[in-house]
């Protein structure tokens, strides 16, 4: 149960609170006035500080993303002081004995130096890497939260698109960083990326030469990646995050349905002091967690992997988690290749690698627009969907996660094989089937589950919650006692709009007057698939009637499931 906030309600129609009364002069007041007179601090403060934020744990996922990004910036600055982005060869003479005298690149050598010869270096390196993993993970889970609650709907489509940009750059940030130390794993990752680039039909080879300044690996890629990793990508991320957060403030945050919450208000705490205290505290918790991770858990022990050598691969070499699904896709994909003219088309790399990423990114980016096309919904939404109330969307989302998940397992197939003593080939065959059937089954099950949750919501709204007390009536029947639920819960269960299925309409109204909307048969069919099966939520009349019946005892309620039209 969410805590009931002290119901600070903010009107969406520009109702900022009045300025605080000036009491005794605060020591900081002088500076504040000075700034106010020059940059309008008061106005900014008034606007920002009284902003109301709703409270829910899932709204903190975006904050985890923000904080881990900041941690990466801070620890990254430390690393740049020592890291040498060069592929020039040296003979290692640092204190890690097992690499003594081995010819390795400056990049790898300086990474070993950070790990073994610079005070606190290994800790910072590990915090940086763990935070990078958590950054991409929290961005992804945050995106899922936004997806499943429908927070991308009007007016937040643009912020969703900015989010897609953030998602893309978060992946690139992680990948470029992973490739810098020039150890065997980062080289293997680069080799993989090189394979993807080369598999692009027609321009592949040219693109490879462009990126690597010659044939892979060349001797420039590390310094190029370094520039991207420490300057270009963080810069873009910073700019996009600013725009992203500005839009969150501008639109005001969405909220989950509940008592007193409407599309026209925000119920929660003011940014200052309550939310700021919580958010600030949370920053330190995230930071502390990352320091603990960095201090306690080994990550990316590059000294074990050895220097990169294009001729070598190691059993059990894997990319970081967010690239794992593409690696898996390439591993389980059948070995297709065709030769057309003098050109080679490496489908086995292009389709799973470049193709899947394209499908995922395009699908996600277009989704807000596809959904509103399917539902015909053009209204603004500030109240979030409970996932069950958008059963097809939820089912699609879960199907997508299952699809992704099976590819992901493919990326760890060798480790699963050794760990659980399974055959590599059997896993591959299983996964080839699973990536196709798994999502379909997940879709069906999830949609059913959503509908049965809707049904039980309807029951609860109509008949209250079961007490678990069985009562025997005078004529010998048994009955479970129900108590009515609170008005707040009643509201939460029944507030959602249930969009109607779009009917095919050629634009001519019944009277022959051309109407404004045109709906093609195709769109109507898809709309029926998308919205068709919903459990009709009870209307106020239904609830009154149910209460009436309840008083009279024992009349079955009408069949709940009805097609909407």
């Amino acid at each position: 149960m969410m805590a009931k906030p002290t119901t600070v309600v903010e009107d969406r129609t520009d109702l900022e609170s009045r300025p605080a009364e000036h009491g005794a002069k605060h020591p900081a007041a002088g500076t504040a006035t000075w700034l106010d007179e020059r940059v309008g601090l008061g106005k900014i403060g008034k606007f920002g500080l009284r902003k109301v934020f709703p409270d829910h744990w899932s709204f903190l996922l975006g904050e985890i993303a923000l904080y881990t990004f900041i941690i990466c910036l801070l620890t990254g600055v430390f690393l740049t002081i020592w890291f040498k982005p060069s592929m020039a060869e040296t003979f290692y003479d640092g204190s890690y004995q097992l690499m003594r005298g081995i010819p390795i690149s400056e990049a790898y050598s300086s990474t070993l130096a950070i790990s073994f010869d610079i005070r606190g270096g290994l800790l910072i390196r590990q915090i940086h890497h763990w935070s990078a993993l958590l950054f991409v993970a929290s961005v992804t889970v945050h995106m899922l939260r936004v997806f499943f609650t429908g927070a991308f709907r009007k007016p937040r489509e643009i912020n969703w698109l900015i989010g897609m940009g953030l998602f893309t750059f978060a992946l690139l940030a992680g990948f470029s960083g992973y490739s810098l130390p020039d150890d065997l794993l980062s080289g293997t990752g680069l080799r993989f990326a090189d394979g993807l680039i080369r598999s692009i039909p027609i321009i592949g080879t040219w693109a490879e030469f462009f990126v690597f300044a010659g044939e892979f690996p060349g001797d420039l890629i590390i310094s190029r990646l370094y520039m991207a990793h420490i300057l270009l990508i963080p810069g873009l991320l910073l700019a996009l995050i600013s725009a992203h957060l500005a839009l969150v403030v501008y639109h005001k945050h969405t909220q989950y349905p509940g008592a007193g919450r409407t599309d026209n208000n925000v119920v929660g705490y003011p940014l200052f002091p309550v939310y700021a205290a919580k958010a600030g505290g949370f920053f330190f918790i995230v930071f502390g967690t990352m320091v603990l991770f960095g201090g306690l858990f080994q990550i990316n022990p590059v000294w074990l992997y050895g220097p990169y050598d294009p001729a070598k691969v190691t059993a059990g070499s894997q990319p970081d988690w967010y690239m794992g699904w593409l690696e898996g896709a390439v591993r389980i994909f059948p070995n297709w290749e065709s030769h057309i003219g003098g050109t080679t088309w490496t489908w086995a790399v292009f389709l799973p690698g470049v193709g899947l990423m394209g499908i995922l990114m395009t699908g996600l980016a277009l989704w807000p627009f596809i959904e509103s096309w399917l539902t015909g919904d053009k209204r603004e939404h500030h109240i979030l969907d409970r996932p069950r109330n958008a059963p097809t969307r939820t089912a699609l989302g879960v199907a997508g996660m299952v699809w992704y998940g099976f590819f992901w397992i493919g990326g760890a197939n060798d480790i699963i094989a050794t760990r659980f003593e399974l055959s590599l080939n059997a896993i591959t065959v299983f996964l080839r089937v699973a990536v196709i059937l798994g999502p379909i089954i997940a879709f069906i099950i999830t949609r059913r589950l959503c509908l049965s949750l809707q049904r039980s919501d309807r029951e609860r709204a109509l008949h209250g919650s079961a007490t678990g007390e069985i009562v025997r009536s005078a004529d010998g029947g048994y009955d479970e006692d129900h108590v009515p639920i609170s008005d707040g819960e009643q509201h939460a269960l029944t507030q959602h709009a249930q969009p109607k299925v779009l009917e095919a309409d050629d634009g001519s109204g019944p009277t022959g007057v051309p109407g404004p909307t045109k709906v093609s048969k195709f769109r109507a069919t898809l709309s029926r698939w998308y919205l068709g099966s919903q459990i009709l939520k009870p209307s106020a009349d239904d609830i009154d009637e149910a209460n009436h019946h309840e008083a009279q005892h024992g009349v079955e309620d009408a069949e709940a499931r009805r097609e909407l039209d």
Binding site: L61, I102, L134, G316
Partner: protein
């Protein structure tokens, strides 16, 4: 005359030389041969003992003369090293035919293993059980051990994984982790190439190279775990697992707690 008398004397001396030579040869023979003849009997004894064990526990699969049956390959020419490796790691005698016979409990004493090795070696020439100077990494310096690491990464880690942690192979097989393997068995594995593993001849890896690899594996095994707990030691896979479980999971739990707490809430 001079020469005449000389010839005479020589002629007289001839039988003595012959006798002396015979004596020397005989003595030498008595010095050299008796022990070796007793060694021979010991050898034949050992082979006999080996044969006895072999007939009981091995011949059902490998054939009475090690010629190979459907249940096991021919052992002619595999050498003593192969037997010492297979029995010394507890792979042989196999319990049943499997995709890959796992290492297991060693059921024979080293003496018995030596006996069977000697017997199998008598089928045909093959790699012998190495002297300790061939595999013992004692006395290697830091640079040589580091070089062993480079050799290991170049020749072995494609199958055995980073620092010999083990790896999967096609068809349900795997290259085992090397952390607990005895030095001598590492050497023998390299020279005899069990299963899918290639045989590395002395032209490819000299004895010193193998020693360096063994030295590297031992040192890496004893090295402290810099950076903290390995948490499964599966590289990025375990790292990803933990960041979701503890990172996202743990912080979400804390987030839920924070969202519940509020000034004057509840």
């Amino acid at each position: 005359m001079n020469t005449e008398s000389k010839r005479k004397r020589k002629a007289q001396a001839r039988p003595w030389v012959l006798v002396m030579a015979l004596l020397v040869v005989g003595l030498a023979y008595s010095v050299v041969v008796p022990p070796s003849s007793s060694a021979e009997t010991e050898m034949t004894q050992q082979i006999e003992e080996g044969k006895a064990i072999f007939d009981v526990s091995c011949s059902s699969c490998h054939g009475l003369n090690g010629e190979g049956l459907s249940a096991g390959p021919s052992l002619i020419g595999v050498g003593a090293a192969s037997v010492d490796f297979q029995m010394g790691t507890g792979r042989m005698p196999a319990a049943r035919g499997e995709a890959q016979i796992p290492a297991g409990e060693v059921v024979y004493s080293q003496e018995q293993i030596d006996a069977v090795s000697a017997y199998v070696a008598s089928f045909g020439p093959g790699p012998a059980i190495p002297e300790s100077s061939q595999y013992d990494p004692e006395g290697l310096n830091a640079d040589e051990i580091a070089r062993g690491g480079a050799l290991f990464r170049a020749n072995c880690s494609a199958c055995h994984g980073i620092v010999g942690g083990g790896g999967a192979m096609p068809e349900g097989k795997h290259a085992p982790a090397l952390g607990d393997t005895e030095d001598v068995h590492i050497y023998e594995a390299v020279r005899t190439g069990p299963q899918q593993m290639p045989t590395f001849s002395k032209d490819v890896l000299e004895d010193d190279d193998v020693r360096q690899i063994i030295g590297f594996l031992n040192t890496a095994d004893e090295a402290p775990r810099y950076g903290g707990l390995g948490m499964g030691n599966h590289g990025p896979v375990s790292e990803g697992f933990w960041i979701f479980l503890l990172g996202i999971g743990g912080l979400s739990a804390i987030a839920a707690w924070i969202a519940k707490k509020g000034a004057g809430a509840r």
